[in-house]
């Protein structure tokens, strides 16, 4: 049990420190790497409380895909070279009031939310339900998602699909003059389309039409 506690505190310490480092580090690429470290330690915490499916999905989705895209964008935009402007002494004063305002608003919102927090009575009832230890985490999650909550699950899928299509439509632009490969055209080409025999007259040459 002590080992469990030690491991828990190590992971949570790493998670908190790296979360702070995400905002503090001067280089944006380093921030993304700290974000990745944060994701990894949080997924370790998930695994520690027995939610192994959630932990692995966290690794696959956030670290394996989302953070890669973050890194991609940060590296491609070359923001790494511009550094974080906040650390520029001359600019610092202009950023502080806005930042303070936003953080104060969020702080009060948090106080309101936590202060007015009440558990629904049926939630407290459901906490008393015995956990079926024979089923694995993944199995029990699957049996709930695909039966009781199938509509919510489908709707969230549809929302993601719409978001994806929206992003594609917004960024798509038709470019002209791009040579595209069509496998069908290439394969279905025949000899008489590609080769032509021409009797060339002396000193005249051949006109090639393209």
């Amino acid at each position: 049990m002590i080992a469990h506690a030690i491991v828990f505190y190590i992971f949570s310490l790493i998670a908190i420190i790296s979360a702070v480092m995400v905002t503090v580090s001067k280089n944006t690429v380093n921030s993304v790497f700290f974000l990745i470290l944060d994701f990894i330690s949080i997924s370790c915490l998930f695994i520690m409380i027995g939610a192994e499916f959630l932990g692995m999905i966290m690794l696959i989705v956030y670290v394996g895909a989302v953070a890669v895209l973050f890194l991609f964008v940060v590296m491609m935009l070359n923001v790494a070279e511009q550094k974080n402007e906040w650390f520029n002494a001359s600019k610092r004063s202009s950023h502080i009031p806005v930042g303070l305002l936003v953080s104060i608003i969020i702080f009060f919102e948090l106080i309101i939310v936590i202060g007015g927090w009440k558990y629904k009575p049926d939630l407290i009832d459901s906490l008393a339900i015995e956990i079926n230890t024979e089923l694995t985490n993944t199995q029990s999650l699957g049996s709930v998602i695909y039966t009781d909550y199938v509509h919510l699950f489908q709707i969230s899928g549809m929302i993601l699909l719409v978001a994806m299509i929206g992003a594609i439509v917004l960024t798509f632009r038709e470019r002209s003059g791009v040579k595209r490969q069509s496998y069908f055209k290439q394969i279905s080409r025949e000899r008489n389309e590609g080769i032509e025999l021409i009797e060339v007259e002396n000193n005249k040459g051949v006109k090639i039409d393209v």
Partner: protein, 331 residues
């Protein structure tokens, strides 16, 4: 006291797994070069040791004694971290591979997801190395490989779903045991082919080795690396290839099971069967390296997103409806 014993027992087990994996990585590099040479009617490495078996060790020795050059304008921490990440990720994945019914280091519930997660993290070693080098070729290589690996992961994920539908468990041992009567390669043969090709792309093997296309990018993300750090990238890459072969043989070729359960076959110990299957897949990898020309980048993306992803999605629907209709759903 008992905790200490458990701790050292685990360490012993880990060493017992890791040392053979590292040795077989060295052997597999030799095999790769040998197969490649035989296809091209050359001899390949045949000087150091019997049949040139010790060639890789000699190469590794050479790398160890070479100077490690760190470019002055590179991001030094990330530059040094990159090969370590590649190597570590390639090795930790072996923890869940079951070599027989009892011989598995960590028999976890979500074994497949763990393998998938670790292989999807593999891209970080490459991105970090490419970016930290602060040079054009490595950066282009890293960008290419990130896009490539993320794209092919998607189809590998969908293929894994196909297998999971037939098994009803994420545990790797359960997946192998579910194949006792019929290896999944038979009902899911198209998925096996797509998995194999995606594995080639996922491990940056030819014909999808665009991240290190020597004609365009010198050596891609490895360009600035030298000495031991280069060797670590190289070892990590081959360990990853072996891992993909192991994954393929567990998901489709019945893992440690013998092909038929009759006398001469079922006395051969289970790990041997798994190793034979891994070797079979690896020789296919090596042959393909020798005989298939490199893909163009747009062809690679087209293959991943427009052909493999729809095909594997359709196959998920087919598998699910087949299992549903004939009432074969597990669990």
């Amino acid at each position: 006291m008992t905790e200490l014993i458990i701790f050292f027992d685990q360490i012993y087990k880990i060493l017992f797994l890791l040392v053979p994996v590292l040795v077989s990585v060295a052997m597999i590099v030799w095999l790769d070069r040998r197969v490649w040479a035989f296809v091209q009617k050359r001899r390949g490495p045949n000087v150091v040791g019997p049949f040139g078996l010790l060639q890789t060790l000699a190469d590794a020795l050479k790398y160890i004694f070479k100077e490690i050059i760190i470019p002055a304008s590179s991001n030094k921490v990330i530059f040094i971290l990159a090969p370590i990440v590649t190597m570590t990720l390639a090795l930790i994945a072996w923890a869940v591979i079951p070599f027989s019914e009892t011989f598995v280091l960590a028999d976890i519930n979500v074994g497949v997801l763990y393998l998938f997660a670790v292989s999807s993290l593999g891209v970080y070693g490459i991105i970090m190395g490419g970016w930290a080098s602060n040079s054009k070729y490595p950066f282009l290589g890293a960008i290419r490989s990130a896009a490539q690996m993320v794209s092919y992961e998607v189809s590998i994920g969908v293929i894994i779903i196909n297998v999971l539908l037939c098994v009803g468990s994420l545990n790797l041992s359960d997946i192998v045991l579910a194949q006792q009567n019929l290896w999944f390669v038979i009902p899911l043969f198209p998925m096996f082919v797509i998995f194999f090709i995606s594995a080639l792309a996922e491990t940056n093997r030819p014909p999808f080795d665009l991240p290190e296309a020597e004609a365009e990018l010198v050596a891609g993300y490895q360009t600035e690396y030298s000495g031991m750090m280069y060797a670590m990238f190289w070892l990590g890459e081959y360990a990853n290839i072996l891992l993909m072969c192991a994954m393929g043989s567990i998901l489709f070729l019945g893992g440690w099971l013998s092909p038929i359960d009759i006398f001469p076959f079922n006395v051969i110990p289970a790990p041997i069967w798994l190793i034979l299957k891994i070797l079979f897949l690896f020789i296919l990898f090596a042959l393909i390296k020798a005989i298939v020309p490199r893909y163009r980048y747009d062809q690679l993306m087209k293959l991943g997103w427009k052909i493999f992803l729809p095909l594997s999605l359709i196959y998920v629907v087919l598998t699910a409806s087949f299992l549903m209709y004939f009432d074969l759903l597990p669990g």
